[in-house]
């Protein structure tokens, strides 16, 4: 049995066992199992990193011309900060440019707070490398 890669001899036996086990249990892996692991993955990546929230806040402050010391929380709504729908479109375009992502029309309409924007950005940035690899 030839492995597609050359593992170091030390762990050869362990990886061989794992590969064989996986191959033999292939029939028993149901789509239900696969879906549940996917669900768990989504839950872990729910909250956005603080740096992302900070970057989004900086862009929002710049676009809406707010003073540097206005306190922006993650839950601040764009409309509460004085942004109308056109300002929101501009903010989303600036975020697309900054993070090099592409936001869908339907997704963009649902962004109302800084936290939502940061979550969406993280989600898209995570999906990006896999799309480029394939």
């Amino acid at each position: 049995s030839k492995l597609p890669y050359n593992p170091p001899p030390r762990i050869y036996h362990a990886t061989l066992k794992r590969v064989l086990r996986k191959a033999s249990s292939f029939q028993s892996i149901s789509f239900g199992r696969f879906q549940s692991s996917k669900r768990i993955r989504l839950q872990i990546s729910c909250a956005a990193k603080p740096e992302t929230v900070q970057k989004v806040s900086d862009i929002v402050k710049e676009q809406l011309a707010l003073s540097a010391d206005t306190a922006l929380t993650a839950e601040s709504k764009f409309s509460a900060l004085g942004a109308d729908s056109l300002d929101t479109v501009e903010i989303v375009m600036a975020l697309e440019e900054k993070f090099d992502i592409s936001v869908e029309e339907t997704e963009a309409q649902n962004i109302t707070t800084i936290q939502e924007a940061a979550d969406l950005i993280e989600d898209l940035v995570q999906k990006k490398p896999t799309a480029q690899a394939s």
Binding site: D84, S85, L86, V89, E90, V92, M93, E97, E105, A108, Q109
Partner: protein
């Protein structure tokens, strides 16, 4: 009567199309002009005027998409100085 949704979509499409220009000057102009244009007509209440503005926006979108193709055929060889980061 055109609703808010399609108007915002049109604005987004125009901004995205304008973003594709390789030339700094026209790219910035497209962004500036679309935002100015939409902001100027933000408070229109007359239905016919709204339809007129929306139709003009759609026409401009066609123009931008056509011209982008021409610009992409002859991309600039050097970066514009305004695009360079301050050092």
């Amino acid at each position: 009567m055109v609703d808010k949704g399609p108007v915002i979509s049109l604005c987004r499409s125009l901004l995205r199309a304008g973003h594709q220009y390789p030339d700094y000057n026209i790219r910035e102009y497209a962004k500036r002009r679309t935002l100015e244009g939409f902001r100027m007509n933000k408070n229109l209440t007359d239905h016919s005027k709204v339809e007129e503005a929306y139709a003009e926006g759609k026409k401009q979108l066609e123009v931008v998409e056509r011209v982008v193709k021409v610009y992409l055929a002859y991309p600039p060889r050097t970066k514009n100085i305004m695009e360079l980061k301050l050092q």
